[in-house]
Symmetry: C2
Subunit: 104 residues, 2 copies
Amino acid sequence: MRKPYQPPKSEIKLTPILHALSDPNRLRIVQCLATRKEQTCSYYQKLNVSKSTLSHHIKVLREAGIIKLRIEGTQHYYSLRLEELEDLFPGLLPSIINIDEQLF
Amino acid sequence: MRKPYQPPKSEIKLTPILHALSDPNRLRIVQCLATRKEQTCSYYQKLNVSKSTLSHHIKVLREAGIIKLRIEGTQHYYSLRLEELEDLFPGLLPSIINIDEQLF
DNA sequence: AGATAAGTTCGAATATCATCGAACAATGAA
DNA sequence: TTCATTGTTCGATGATATTCGAACTTATCT
């Protein structure tokens, strides 16, 4: 499987990021990655959406520049682009990572 | 004109806030209110959208709980709900208020 | 009362989004 | 080589969003 597109740091913009984060399931993925560092897609099957929907959500996060991909065999490991995002938008991700799911 | 609905603090949720902020013109309004404290709607006619579109954007911000309204005659003065938002989502608005428009 | 000004609301057109099943691609195992 | 696994992509559908002009509401001014 070829590596899907992800924007370089210089092309990361705020509005796609905020849009990507404005969905509860995508927020859950981001919060999970904030604590567990790296996960494969299949981990998020607990979100109770179909495989294609999950892949769509991950694509939205990836194309916004929030997560990056490392491929190992058939597994896709995703992780947050924390340093780059902190450099571009200081404090933004930390403020979101700590919010309780009840407030989503 | 009767006072439009705005949610009590207890009903403010994160995803509507992030969605409301994922639009460049709405971000401009929020950043403007962060420095100028209070403005009427007509101030934002410089955004070059129609009156109804502007009213729509302001409604999205208001219903998300980001701005509050004070009516004086025919003028509607809007301002940020800074303390409540800081209490609910610490650091979120400050991190967004400082971002340069080039990164929108 | 009539005219004006500030905003909101309505209705319609267009675009974007979320979701799913099915098909596809790439790797690894039998 | 065949099969199973992991994940993406495609196409369709229904739901939301954005935008505008027109109509409406409320207050103010003459």
